[in-house]
């Protein structure tokens, strides 16, 4: 693809990304304003009175008309200010900033392992098509993908943590550790020990897609004429598989990875809850349960932005990796 063509594509996709984010945030804003109940309910207590309520509403900025709230909200959003938590009374951006790295690490680690495994296993299974191992491996891959994550997680937790005590039961770091920063955490074996179970649960759940995708595209590619040609050229099996088959087959898998990264950030909600993993998903669940809508809204926007961004990245990645994409297909 020509360089300028690609740049144009990038610009176009980024433009659309901005539009998507704007629509998402607006929809989110409206959604949350429709939420029944008002935030002061969270403070219900016999000492709670009308005056308290008004003061609270004012401090939440909820005493203004909707359009004004919207303008304020968008204005603040542009400055990265997501408001203050109704319940926890801290800036939402700070809650999210604490949580996002954890989610990203969990997702990236799990996704990378799942994809590494899925790609290798998928390619292997593609070569084994029609053999006995398929009858076992494919149902197994599908079954782990079919299990509710929390159920899988609870079973792992019960087995490996409660019964055997090999892994901690939750959280990201040991109690009272000084592992505040991401760098510290990544360097600590304890962190990885805490990461193991939630990551394993995710890996079990996530590996099915790359495995099946890799297998299917591999099968498709292996049937392509240019693979037959590569054989005719007398190229080594290794060259054929790595240089031609895998490279072509990987295209959709790489794209799926980017998409998966976006989707997982929002989809980890359940796993984060089971394993008390201090990530964005859990923040969101708690906020929704507690009707803490600045937080729920912030987390939702953050997740959507990550998702939309990763969707865009996936698109661009595909265009960057596949020289054919930019050519307008003839009708």
């Amino acid at each position: 693809m020509s360089r300028s063509g690609f740049l144009r594509l990038v610009a176009e996709r980024l433009g659309f990304l901005v539009l998507t984010v704007w629509i998402t945030t607006t929809v989110t804003f409206l959604l949350f304003r429709l939420m029944p109940g008002d935030p002061t309910l969270a403070y219900l207590s016999p000492t709670f009175n009308e005056e308290t309520r008004t003061a609270l509403l004012r401090s939440f900025g909820l005493d203004k008309p909707l359009w004004e709230q919207y303008l304020i909200y968008m204005g603040r959003l542009l400055q990265g200010d997501l408001g203050t938590s109704f319940l926890q009374r801290v800036p939402v951006s700070q809650l999210l900033a604490d949580a996002l790295p954890n989610t990203i690490i969990l997702t990236l680690v799990a996704l990378s392992i799942a994809y590494a495994f899925g790609i290798v296993a998928g390619a292997f299974l593609a070569f084994q098509r029609g053999r006995g191992i398929e009858g076992f491996a494919i149902p197994a891959a599908l079954a782990t993908r079919s299990a509710p994550e929390f159920w899988l997680g609870m079973l792992l937790l019960a087995g490996l943590a409660f019964q055997l005590g090999w892994f901690p039961t939750g959280g990201a770091v040991p109690p009272g550790s000084n592992l505040g920063g991401i760098g510290d955490r990544l360097a600590s074996p304890e962190f990885w020990r805490h990461l193991f179970l939630p990551a394993l649960t995710l890996v079990l759940y996530l590996q099915g897609l790359p495995l099946l995708l890799m297998r299917a595209t591999m099968l498709e590619v292996m049937n392509d004429e240019f693979i037959v040609m590569a054989r005719m050229k007398g190229l080594s099996r290794w060259s054929i598989v790595m240089r031609h088959a895998a490279r072509n087959a990987l295209l959709p898998v790489v794209t799926a990875f980017a998409l998966g990264l976006g989707a997982s950030v929002g989809g980890n909600v359940v796993v984060e809850t089971v394993f008390a993993w201090p990530g964005v998903g859990r923040v969101l669940v708690q906020a929704v349960q507690g009707a803490d809508y600045p937080v729920a809204q912030g987390a939702f926007i953050l997740i959507s932005v990550v998702l939309a961004t990763m969707n865009t990245v996936a698109d661009l990645l595909y265009a960057a990796l596949d020289p054919r994409v930019s050519v307008g297909a003839r009708r």
């Binding site: 959604l31 429709l34 494919i138 299990a147 509710p148 079973l155 099968l219």
Partner: protein, 286 residues
């Protein structure tokens, strides 16, 4: 009739699809006869004397024991098929209907309709599924309607994309042009000529959507946004979790609904996996 025979031939030749279809069949039969099959009323609080029959272990009377609130696990499991089917099927039908319609319109009409629908789909795809469902559940009444609505609102783009690309290639087929030349209106071409070609594909996506819906319902229930009024596997799991069935070692309560979910979702995957040859016709030559 021809279709039925073709379907049967297909199942016979594809063990995966066969197993999947068999599981579905079993679930459907169970759901139909749930009231006959279930030994107890799944909602009834069973008593032992004045006391609630909590946590009874597996016994001839209660094949899977009882729950913390004194209900028969097996009966709940059996009744759960109804809600699973209801959630799964409505979600699948809605997804397939919306997705197919959108895909068909976008693919066939092209132009601004296509642009609009693809853009819309892109935007919808950047709505995180689970979070969206939680928020929607919090905004409205939690329960299966929300699950179905979410699946329908957020999952149609997947089907629509596939259908669209299928339609894009179909509309280039000469027989579509032939239909135009022989006087067919666009509507007729779309719904009489093209639609039947993409329906099998849509149905496959439907079978995957069933799984999605079931899992979504389970996750929503787990996080406390299920409809406790219905007896569903998700709600069962949630109850078991909330009442610490695992901590009690009540595996008889915690595992069966999970396995039921796995098998139903698996069935959908199996069917679509078994249909690989339909999706990648090249494989059939191998």
């Amino acid at each position: 009739m021809r279709a039925a025979r073709a379907a049967w031939r297909f199942l016979r030749s594809e063990p995966f699809a066969f197993v999947g279809a068999a599981i579905y069949a079993l679930i459907v039969v169970t759901a139909i006869f749930a009231d006959k099959l279930a030994p107890h009323d799944p909602r009834e609080i069973l008593r032992v004397g004045r006391r609630v029959a909590r946590y009874l272990p597996i016994s001839p009377e209660h094949w899977l024991g009882t729950t913390s609130s004194g209900r028969d696990v097996l009966s709940q499991l059996i009744w759960g098929t109804r809600s699973a089917l209801q959630v799964g099927l409505t979600a699948a039908i809605v997804v397939v209907a919306i997705g197919t319609l959108m895909g068909l319109l976008a693919g066939y009409l092209g132009g601004w309709v296509d642009k609009l629908i693809t853009r819309l789909a892109d935007i919808v795809l950047s709505m995180p599924f689970l979070p969206f469902m939680l928020v929607l559940a919090a905004l409205t009444t939690p329960g299966t309607t929300v699950v179905v609505a979410c699946v329908a609102l957020l999952l149609w783009p997947n089907t629509a994309r596939v259908i669209r690309s299928q339609v894009l290639s179909l509309r280039e087929r000469a027989w579509v042009e032939a239909a135009r030349v022989t006087g067919c209106s666009n509507t007729r071409i779309m719904f009489v000529h093209i639609l039947p070609q993409v329906l099998p594909l849509a149905a496959l996506y439907g079978s995957v959507a069933i799984g999605w819906a079931i899992l979504a319902e389970a996750s929503a229930s787990f996080l406390g946004f299920g409809d406790p009024d219905t007896i569903s596997w998700g709600v069962m799991l949630q109850e078991a979790y909330a009442n610490q069935a695992l901590g009690r070692g009540a595996w008889n309560w915690f595992t069966p609904p999970g396995l039921a979910i796995v098998s139903m979702v698996l069935a959908g995957f199996m069917i679509s996996r078994g249909s690989e040859k339909l999706l990648f016709p090249k494989l059939a030559d191998k």
